[in-house]
């Protein structure tokens, strides 16, 4: 069986994938993981997970082009330019209206 090992380096930090190991069962996997990733006190904690239990997702189709989920879905630059110009000319008009 193949187990994937995730390791937390310091308290509060995210667990990061550290590597994989082969073991006949979870108990052996834990022992191997301790030897490989913990014997220099380099880890705060480990997660030892059977590879088959991991559901891997690789594809993220976006048929509807849902750009509103993304930063590049908002092109403010052109709109802002137009809005500023509008505000400026409106300001100029009202400034003129103040004249006697």
């Amino acid at each position: 069986m193949v187990f994937e090992v995730f390791r937390q380096e310091r308290k509060g930090q995210p667990f990061q994938h550290a590597g994989a190991l082969a073991a006949p069962n979870a108990e052996f996997a834990e022992a191997w993981a301790r030897e490989q990733y913990g014997r220099r006190q380099e880890s705060e904690a480990l997660w030892v997970v059977p590879r088959d239990e991991i559901r891997a997702v690789h594809d993220f189709p976006d048929e509807l082009h849902k750009t509103y989920h993304r930063v590049d879905g908002y092109s403010l630059k052109a709109k802002l330019k137009e809005a500023r110009q509008r505000a400026e000319s409106a300001g100029a008009l009202s400034a003129r209206a103040d004249l006697p």
Partner: protein, 299 residues
């Protein structure tokens, strides 16, 4: 080359990363297996010259440090064979090919360790030469391999420290101890100079083509010379090569290493090849019952 392969080549040459589940050309997979398997074999065989000194280490502290180094190297072999296994070659097959003499391992592990001086020179300079190659592999296009290299390089740096400490202690000791270090350096210089392989230009190296390796052989050797020759000289040791010098342009000149010897040694005809493979084979057979019991229990 078909369009898909072409696209793959452009991707890896442009710095792209390949994962186990990604499509890859068969040639790339075969090259990876061969290269990574040899690395695993070298980690595993590399502990044998040092293992011989665990019982003869001069102090308890050295014995423990040497044992820890051996454990590290076997751990590297485990991590590396795991990567090979995910590429399609089972570990049992890699081990069988190794003991059958069908697979290669690094030239430096085919030589005897005559004295404690050799143990110091190995941990300091052989590990130094190895870490130069392994650091370059952090940029390997095959990402699972590059990822384990991070942990491996971290542990290798301890080995260099351990080796340097052994050497410095001996150099600060008696004339006899200094003599042992000098003799060991003289013995190991030849194998160290051929360690990184012939000066094949990077653009003709198939391993560089697939960006399995990103560093040319000569580049690695120059880096080794530049980093370590000054450290050797400052201790008053002599490198057994009268031509060795650093040119004004920063390039190191050296006598042509013995490439015939390299070829002879890595094809299984080194002074200790047969004996060490015998030992590996014996342990593989002797411990088969452990695997049988554990795997039967797990099933």
């Amino acid at each position: 080359m078909d369009a898909r392969t072409q696209e793959f080549v452009e991707e890896v040459q442009g710095g792209g990363h390949v994962e186990t589940s990604d499509w890859m050309p068969e040639e790339y997979r075969a090259k990876l297996i061969k290269f990574i398997e040899m690395h695993g074999n070298s980690e595993l065989m590399g502990v044998l010259p040092e293992r011989e000194w665990i019982l003869r280490a001069p102090t308890l502290q050295r014995k423990l440090a040497l044992t820890a180094k051996v454990q590290d190297e076997v751990g590297h072999a485990q991590l590396i064979y795991r990567v090979v296994e995910d590429l399609g070659k089972p570990r049992a097959q890699s081990l069988q090919d190794l003991v059958d003499g069908k697979a290669k391992f690094h030239n430096v592990f085919h030589y005897p360790t005559k004295t404690w001086g050799d143990v110091g020179v190995i941990a300091w300079l052989v590990d130094a030469a190895a870490i130069i190659s392994q650091k370059a592999l952090l940029k390997c296009s095959y990402a699972p391999y590059a990822r384990i290299m991070k942990k491996i390089c971290w542990e290798e740096s301890f080995h260099i420290l351990h080796g340097r400490d052994v050497i410095l202690t001996m150099m600060n000791g008696t004339d006899e101890q200094r003599e042992l270090v000098q003799e060991a350096l003289t013995r190991w210089w030849g194998p160290l100079m051929t360690f990184h392989g012939t000066a094949i230009p990077a653009d003709e190296d198939p391993m560089v083509f697939w960006r399995i390796k990103s560093q040319g052989n000569e580049e690695a050797r120059q880096q080794f010379l530049d980093g370590y020759v000054p450290q050797i000289w400052e201790l008053g040791l002599t490198v057994p090569d009268p031509k060795l010098r650093k040119r004004d342009d920063g390039v190191w000149e050296y006598s042509e290493p013995d490439w015939d010897e390299l070829k002879r040694v890595v094809t299984g005809n080194g002074p200790k090849t047969a004996e060490r493979l015998d030992l590996r084979r014996r342990f593989l057979e002797q411990e088969a019952w452990v695997r049988d019991v554990v795997l039967a229990d797990a099933a």
